[in-house]
């Protein structure tokens, strides 16, 4: 697949505040097509707010946000729909519709954007998406309240992937998954990226995920993006928080794990 290095998400001079509290100031970043872009930062540095600004759920005070070359600020709902069908979003808690079964949840975006599909085909799509996200065979007919937290997350992923989006937003996808599930999830994202040419915007605290799948990582601190780059590039920087983050005990463990994996492969 030809992976052009053009820009999918462009954020320029973003400023977000809640009352007195300033969250972002003059924040800029670019996400390129086909990459898995990780966003890290301490708690409360506005990672989720950044994601919400990009997908248009939070109107920033200032700045420009462009997705697929189209400005996301001040658009009406009808126009925004065209961009929305090209992305999928996984929220932190899964955000499944609680009155619908998992299969129906997956079918919601498909029915919304592509009405008139054969119900049988819709069921087939829901079935393979359910299986693809690693849920067991009986999960499709269950309601979200009947699922565990990790399963809800997987169902959320299945729904985010329902439209085969070009761009995937993931807010802490592996939080709350067991290590095996988290590794399987990393693998799933990599595979989908390769097969579908997906671009992934990934907020995470999971160092294993960062090492395993992220092409580039943006570090959020002091209300802006202080650094963007691959892990070796970030490690070379002399920034206190970055050093602590990647070289702390957990960071070292994840790095060692990556090396072992590399050696055995």
């Amino acid at each position: 697949m030809n992976r052009q290095r053009d820009t999918v998400i462009e954020v320029k001079g973003l400023r977000n505040s809640f009352g007195e509290q300033l969250v972002h100031e003059d924040l800029s970043l670019d996400v390129r097509r086909g990459e898995i872009f990780g966003v890290v930062g301490g708690s409360g540095t506005g990672k989720s707010v950044l994601m919400r600004s990009i997908i248009g759920l939070q109107v920033p005070d200032e700045g420009e946000v462009t997705v697929f070359g189209e400005s996301m600020i001040g658009r009406d709902e009808e126009e925004a729909k065209h961009v929305r069908r090209r992305w999928g979003v996984l929220f932190q808690g899964g955000a499944l519709f609680s009155t619908l079964t998992v299969a129906e949840n997956i079918q919601v975006p498909i029915k919304e954007f592509y009405p008139g599909l054969d119900p049988e085909l819709l069921d087939e799509i829901a079935a393979y998406k359910t299986a693809m996200s690693g849920l067991s065979g009986d999960a499709g007919a269950k309601y979200p309240s009947e699922l565990s937290g990790g399963m809800r997350k997987r169902a959320g992923i299945a729904r985010a992937l329902a439209l085969d989006p070009e761009l995937l937003f993931l807010d802490e996808p592996t939080a709350g998954l067991d290590p095996i599930g988290a590794a399987a999830f990393d693998h799933l994202i990599l595979e989908l990226r390769d097969a579908l040419g997906l671009t992934v915007f990934l907020i995470t605290h999971d160092l294993d995920t960062l090492y395993a799948i992220c092409d580039r990582i943006a570090v959020l601190a002091d209300k802006k993006v202080v650094a963007v780059g691959t892990i070796p590039e970030l490690l070379a920087l002399d920034h206190e928080w970055i050093q602590e983050y990647f070289k702390g005990p957990r960071g070292r463990a994840a790095a060692a794990h990556k090396q072992v994996e590399g050696a055995s492969a």
Partner: protein, 353 residues
């Protein structure tokens, strides 16, 4: 030989799956060399050709092979629909469930009342566990914030009674008895009853919704693990506030209704306020007020208990919060009216006419 071309994506899949359905040949060879774009849905269709009709896929690119392979691995039996149940059985089951539920609610409420008494006793024995701030906050929400709406409602009800009463009594030349009608009905029945309905709608529902969402977000469980009893911390302040405020609100409502009726009498019937008040004092016996003041706290107890009980029964999803809130209000108002009937019979038989 089947040659697919262009985009094999969700956008095109509707037409494509119809066209594929029309082809009847077996042992197809599917050529993907001209396919420009393919997503998982396209891959699924190709996989189905391979699986169901023994098609051979040729000229697939590496990425396409990967994608088809990926989809093929996800092809396992997944249950999509809930199991079918016959409508007759569903109706029977619903009737049975409702009956069970009604019985369970009765026992549940009884148990809840017992638990409430126990926690009240505990608080009396350990006065430091009394949550003063929580109670005063409930006073504000249940009482102070309700003053405007209850006042306005009762005032209007007073005017309506006066107007309707005057029209009927005029036919017998007994217009002057409108004052009796206003005074007795407002003080004895309507003040408290209308207040109870309003409080059930405002506060009973709020209790159910608050406790319900706290239950959903596991706040109630968190409280228990810390050793705080939800009965003492959540239920008791709400019940106490409602029990204490119902008589006050009921009295206030009665006064507002009498004022509304008085203004009507003044404007329409030419009875001056001084005369009106004098007549009211003559015709409304003390026992009317005692009746109202005895009924009010009981109504408050019922409303608050129904709200809190239903709220704490919430489990599962957000829809349940809505259902339980509705149930709390319906139950509250229903029980209030049933009890009001009992009270009426009782007070009449003890001679409080």
């Amino acid at each position: 030989m089947l040659r697919l071309s262009g985009a094999l994506t969700l956008l095109r899949v509707r037409k494509l799956s119809e066209q594929l359905g029309e082809i009847e040949a077996e042992n197809l060879t599917v050529d993907l060399s001209e396919v420009e774009r393919m997503d998982t849905v396209g891959a699924w269709l190709v996989h189905k050709l391979e699986r169901d009709r023994g098609a051979t896929i040729v000229n697939a690119s590496e990425d396409q092979k990967l994608l088809i392979d990926h989809v093929a691995r996800a092809d396992m039996p997944v249950k999509i629909k809930r199991d079918y149940e016959s409508p007759l059985l569903v109706i029977l089951a619903q009737a049975g469930m409702s009956t069970l539920e009604a019985g369970r609610t009765m026992f549940g409420m009884l148990g809840f009342f017992g638990a409430l008494l126990i926690s009240t006793w505990n608080i009396i024995r350990h006065p430091r566990r009394f949550r003063f701030n929580a109670v005063t906050q409930q006073f504000e929400v249940v009482g102070v914030h309700a003053l405007a709406i209850i006042g306005l409602m009762s005032f209007l009800v007073g005017i309506v009674i006066a107007q309707q009463g005057a029209v009927q009594l005029r036919q017998f030349g007994a217009e002057v008895f409108t004052v009796n009608l206003i005074g007795r009905s407002a003080v004895k029945e309507l003040g408290v009853l209308m207040t109870a309905i309003m409080v059930a709608g405002r506060s009973g529902s709020a209790f159910a919704a608050q406790l319900g969402s706290m239950k959903l977000s596991e706040e109630v469980d968190a409280m228990r693990t810390i050793g705080v009893s939800p009965m003492e911390a959540l239920v008791f302040p709400r019940v106490l506030a409602t029990v204490l405020l119902m008589p006050l609100l009921g009295f206030y409502a009665a006064i507002c209704a009498v004022i509304g009726g008085g203004i009507f009498c003044w404007v329409e019937l030419g009875i001056p306020p001084v005369t009106f008040v004098q007549r009211i004092r003559e015709v409304v016996p003390d026992t009317d007020l005692w009746q109202a003041m005895i009924k009010a706290p009981v109504f408050g107890l019922i409303i608050a208990m129904a709200g809190c009980y239903q709220g704490l029964q919430v489990q599962g999803n957000a829809e349940e919060v809505g259902l339980r809130t509705t149930t709390a209000v319906v139950q509250g108002i229903f029980l209030v009216i049933v009890l009001d009937a009992f009270f009426a019979v009782f007070f009449t038989s003890v001679g409080w006419l």
